[in-house]
Symmetry: C2
Subunit: 421 residues, 2 copies
């Protein structure tokens, strides 16, 4: 067991193209969003496991001795175990959560305990740990905050238990794990996601683990570069490992964006059902529309690949046209919203192109920021969107996946959050 403090981060995700169409067997492009979740893990010797999630006001502690005395054989199902409903029920007893516990808190605690017990039970003794997780990602906004949480937990717990080595070498500000280690992190993170979501697609944890951009098609997740291979056999660009935030990953460039949260609540299930109903009602109209969306994803994939190899300004123009067309297509599928129209209108008036991302019907939208855009223009756009009542953040997509950081490399805002200040 390692004894040093570990600082781990993992990105959120947005769907660049293919939301909704993916449900009907089309390609979706998911990209890592450089709004990150940060985890600080400190081994200590007070016989407690402390979990602190300041974003949602959670602070829990368990006695290691009590957890140690549990019969955790119910978790034994091979190397990486898939949580069953029975296991999750047993975990609820272990967690000792009050009956009136909020859903978010219950799921966050259960996912933690599941990963902690499953990963650490192979140790001679369960470790005493102090863990704090803080995120830049708003929860429940379809930005993969739960996956980033699971990825951070899996990476930190696997590292502290020496299931995978700590890739951070003396003098490194940030580093990443090897392909094999990332695969293991991803597998465990997926189990955490299963505790939280029941039957997740696995895209969110894959994007948060690998970073860059991934393609999801009929249940298969692959990198954009080696799209014929599933992610478990894809070989990330080793040279890219350890690159800093905002740099290229897996051949896909980092793109600056505005991420706007309209804060209009949406019902993903109802929106997905609405598209299905429209497809059933108007098959001859909607099926070719889904085909057109699929082609947008493929064209975007092609352009991103080209940008990774030989960037040129006109590629941004194509990305903008694709964004516009897909936004109209999503509207035609019936998943638009007046707030998203407003977002598109406000940015369009400034020569910028936006689309909804995720389920639609409100929620979040992304706006592409071309290189060379003056900062005052960006600020004016953010200001205009904020005056609409939206939350607006300037960030990037195509961000690096799960990373490990030196204490001094994190900016003071993150440091303070992880210090519980």
């Amino acid at each position: 067991m390692l004894s040093e403090v570990l600082l781990v981060s993992a990105p959120g995700k947005v769907i660049l193209h293919g939301e909704h169409a993916v449900v009907h067997g089309k390609v979706a492009l998911a990209v890592a969003l450089n709004l990150r979740t940060f985890l600080r893990l400190e081994p200590h010797s007070n016989g407690k496991v402390d979990l602190s999630l300041p974003n949602i006001g959670i602070k829990r502690a368990w006695d290691v001795a009590g957890l140690q005395s549990l019969d955790t054989s119910f978790l034994e199902q091979g190397d990486v175990t898939t949580p069953t409903p029975e296991q999750v029920e047993k975990l609820k007893d272990v967690a000792g959560l009050p009956d009136d516990c909020a859903v978010t808190e219950r799921l966050a605690v259960l996912a933690f305990l599941y990963l902690y017990l499953s990963i650490c039970r192979k140790q001679r003794a369960l470790p005493s740990l102090d863990i704090i997780v803080w995120s830049e990602l708003p929860p429940g906004a379809g930005l993969g905050s739960s996956a980033a949480y699971s990825v951070c937990l899996a990476a930190a717990l696997l590292t502290v238990c020496e299931e995978i080595p700590n890739p951070l070498k003396d003098g490194d500000c940030v580093n990443r794990w090897t392909r094999e280690d990332l695969e293991l992190i991803n597998k465990w993170a997926f189990q955490g996601e299963r505790v939280i979501h029941g039957n997740p697609s696995g895209v969110d944890n894959a994007v948060s683990t690998w970073g860059g951009a991934l393609r999801y098609h009929q249940g298969k997740i692959s990198s954009l570069k080696s799209k014929q291979e599933s992610i478990t056999s894809c070989v990330p660009d080793d040279a890219a490992l350890g690159r800093r935030n905002g740099e290229m990953k897996l051949g896909s460039p980092a793109l600056q964006i505005l991420l706007t949260n309209t804060k209009v609540p949406r019902n993903t299930r109802a929106l997905v059902a609405g598209v299905r109903n429209r497809l059933l009602k108007f098959p001859e109209i909607v099926a070719p529309l889904l085909t057109s969306i699929d082609a947008i994803s493929l064209e975007c994939e092609r352009v991103l690949g080209e940008m990774g190899e030989a960037p040129a300004p006109e590629q941004y123009l194509v990305l903008e046209e694709l964004i516009d067309m897909n936004q109209h297509h999503l509207n035609a599928l019936g998943v638009g919203h007046a707030s998203l129209d407003q977002l598109c209108q406000v940015t369009r008036a400034r020569g910028l192109h936006s689309k909804l991302t995720g389920a639609g019907g409100g929620g979040c939208g992304i706006t592409l920021l071309k290189p060379g855009l003056e900062q005052p223009e960006v600020e004016a756009t953010k200001q205009a969107l904020t005056s609409c009542g939206f939350d607006c953040l300037e960030t990037s997509i195509g961000a690096p996946g799960v990373s490990i950081h030196s204490a001094t490399s994190l900016d003071s805002r993150v440091q303070q959050a992880l210090d519980g200040l």
Copy 2:
């Protein structure tokens, strides 16, 4: 030669679905717009042919004797002659138009002279006529104003020359010609359109002649009911002939609409070229989009047929969904405009559904008015659109085609216009 005064009217047209897609071999639905062009023809004996077009401030007169002495054999090319560039050049000499004559005036005068000389030259002597044409249709807005003009001229001239009988019987307020007579009117009107537009599709004059709704597909024009036949062999519902404005025609119901002119000037040629370029640039994206638009037209045709047979409120909901989807599709083709977005937004806020009609990029849009909508709501919507700087008219589509009226049946506004007041 008849000696009575003839009062003829013909409707404009709007494209309900399929604009732009029609250029790429897809179906378009064109419907008669109940904004009409009215023509008053009075035979007189002063040896003059007078043409008055108050909408564009034109008043011209020619001496019948002068026209009679012309060698008009250049017009002799069979029953219905197709104007050649040489003929049009010769007509310019006949017309005696000044060099600085506006294009609209020149084309209106040439089309008149072409139809007058071609149709009346079979008479023993060219008739002395006083003709005034006044229209509710704004010119150059893609609403088929030139076709309505040609149709009125052809119907009135063929009737006064007794090439076709006057269908107006004693006591009739309004009546229409038989199928065969309408076919002849349509053929001549098409020649007038050729003088004006060079190479028109023939849709505008067909809609203005037949009324109701027509389908245009790969150069073939057919009625919605008997869509396998071209219009020249289609048999309109004889019972429908003679029905009053706003009633059913050719199995297609009249639908109440708002017609909104954004007054944003558009360049049809550039818009058509833009779609073609987008299709060439993104064939995999745009081709299925055109397929989807085609399916919208077909579905609309099916619903209109159903409405003609067994009207039900839910059919309007489908028409609204089709309008919304097509508007998004037209935006995806790149032929939208901020003014059209505004139109859609304003009407949407009142639960109404709109789409652009015609070339897009500004121009006109239509808004479906469901039955049962309260007049104050309609007025409020018109008011809101007018405050956007748009012209907004409440009218209907699926209107009757070219008709002949009794003097007393025309409303006073039309009477006054035709009396030159």
